[in-house]
């Protein structure tokens, strides 16, 4: 069984380079420039660009496509299926905040600035997707990097305060009185 510390898979063959690009592009949140991909994969930029163009041309039968924008390359849904995609996005579960999203927002609000890993530990679930949603909805923003772990820190926004009808974070109701059985909530 391999681990991340193992030797890197060789990308000499075009098929392997293509697959490595697919792996990275499938999970990266923002468009990635070809130059950055070339650097990380330790391949010549020209070869990587050629591979990206080859990949982009290979998905004709699929419901997704590899799109090139000014910021870089990213996967996107094919326009033909937009009605379904939009219906999915507007589906009740997606349009309003879920209980999971509210709980995650609560942890950020009362622990800010805080890393995703910390929020995840408090809630006992992976919160990456929910944190992205909260960011996309403008309720939280990135706020620097945690010195100890190198993880990105998050805090709540003005929009968050506005939605709760608060003037500042100082007006957030204290939660300690709601937790009489807990000596020190920072321990949690």
């Amino acid at each position: 069984m391999s681990s991340p510390d193992d030797e890197l898979p060789g990308l000499g063959r075009d098929a392997e380079l293509d697959a490595a690009l697919e792996a990275v592009l499938m999970v990266v949140d923002a468009p990635v420039p070809a130059s950055q991909l070339a650097e990380v994969l330790e391949q010549p930029a020209a070869r990587v660009t050629a591979a990206l163009e080859r990949l982009a041309g290979s998905y004709a039968e699929h419901g997704f496509e590899l799109r090139r924008t000014e910021e870089g390359w990213r996967y996107a849904s094919r326009a033909r299926f937009a009605p379904y995609v939009e219906r999915f996005v507007l589906d009740g579960q997606r349009a309003r905040l879920t209980r999971a999203a509210l709980e995650t927002l609560a942890v950020v609000a009362y622990r800010q600035p805080v890393t995703r890993a910390r929020v995840s530990a408090v809630r006992g679930v992976n919160v990456d997707g929910v944190m992205r949603t909260l960011t996309a909805r403008g309720l939280i923003v990135e706020a620097g990097v945690d010195g100890a772990t190198g993880g990105t820190l998050y805090r709540t926004t003005e929009l968050f305060l506005e939605r709760l009808g608060l003037g500042s974070l100082d007006e957030l109701p204290p939660i300690a009185p709601l937790l009489p059985e807990v000596d020190d909530i920072d321990e949690l």
Binding site: D29, E86, Y110, T133, L159, R163, L164, L172, I175
Partner: protein, 263 residues
């Protein structure tokens, strides 16, 4: 935990172990034995040696755990119940039972160790697959209605409190009335009062009012604790004889039979 047994003629290096069962399994493995009752017999001396070497570096609770296993192994060996047993009287029966319990717990622990090794493998392969979890593109995000939290500040604080609250509201069970939890410090208080008044009591007398096995265990650990803190002295004429507990605060006279993990 680090171990450096400085004993003439006995020098074995083991991997770090995480408790008496782990040590026993490692010793069995070192002798290339299967986990059988024969193995328990063969590794008893090694185990006792390590337990003796632990004394200075381990805390009371750790040492106690090792001592319990060591004492069981010694009993078994002394009674020559290993590797084959001949049942002659009730003491032998009790020892057979002790052997079976130790053996079963050892096998149980080994099963969980094997699962832990499997978890290690699962973990190292699971971490290799990263899920797609991307933000909505701006054009799709713009389709969404303005975000609403659906709660006011007080409701939001309630949600936060629910997240940070460590456990659901405890349910009131009546079972605890029948099986009380036992705290060693409490047992120490009970016993030191009686010993101070009586001067000396046997362990059986100290436990005369115990209703549950767990209380007896608590009192025994309490006696060990009091012995360690030099409040009592212990006397026992021979193995399995009556254990006499004498009130002797800060005495140098610490009895004749109690095992001293430091030596």
């Amino acid at each position: 935990m680090t171990l450096a047994p400085e004993r003439t003629g006995f020098q074995v290096t083991l991997h770090n172990f995480t408790g008496p069962f782990d040590l026993l399994l490692q010793l069995i493995g070192r002798h290339e034995l299967d986990v059988t009752e024969v193995a328990l017999s063969r590794v008893t001396d090694d185990f006792i040696a390590y337990t003796a070497a632990l004394g200075g570096s381990a805390d009371l609770e750790e040492t106690t755990g090792f001592l319990v296993v060591a004492a069981t192994l010694l009993d078994l060996k002394a009674a020559r119940l290993l590797p084959s047993a001949e049942v002659e009287d009730e003491d032998d029966l009790a020892l057979l039972e002790a052997r079976d319990v130790l053996f079963a717990r050892l096998l149980q622990y080994r099963a969980y160790q094997q699962v832990a090794a499997l978890f290690r493998e699962l973990e190292s392969s699971a971490r290799l697959r990263y899920p797609r979890a991307v933000s909505l593109s701006p054009e799709l995000a713009s389709l969404l209605p303005p975000v609403e939290l659906g709660v006011d500040a007080a409701g939001f604080a309630e949600i936060a409190a629910a997240v940070f609250r460590p456990a659901p509201p405890p349910t009131v069970g009546l079972d605890h009335l029948h099986a009380p939890s036992v705290s060693v410090p409490e047992q120490v208080v009970i016993m030191s009062g009686r010993l101070e008044a009586a001067g000396q009591l046997t362990f059986a007398e100290l436990c005369a009012d115990c209703e549950h096995g767990v209380e007896v265990v608590g009192r025994f650990l309490g006696v060990l604790e009091m012995y360690r803190s030099r409040q009592v002295a212990l006397d026992q004429d021979e193995a399995f004889a009556e254990l006499a507990v004498r009130w002797a605060p800060d005495s140098e006279d610490r009895g004749t039979a109690a095992p001293d993990p430091g030596e």
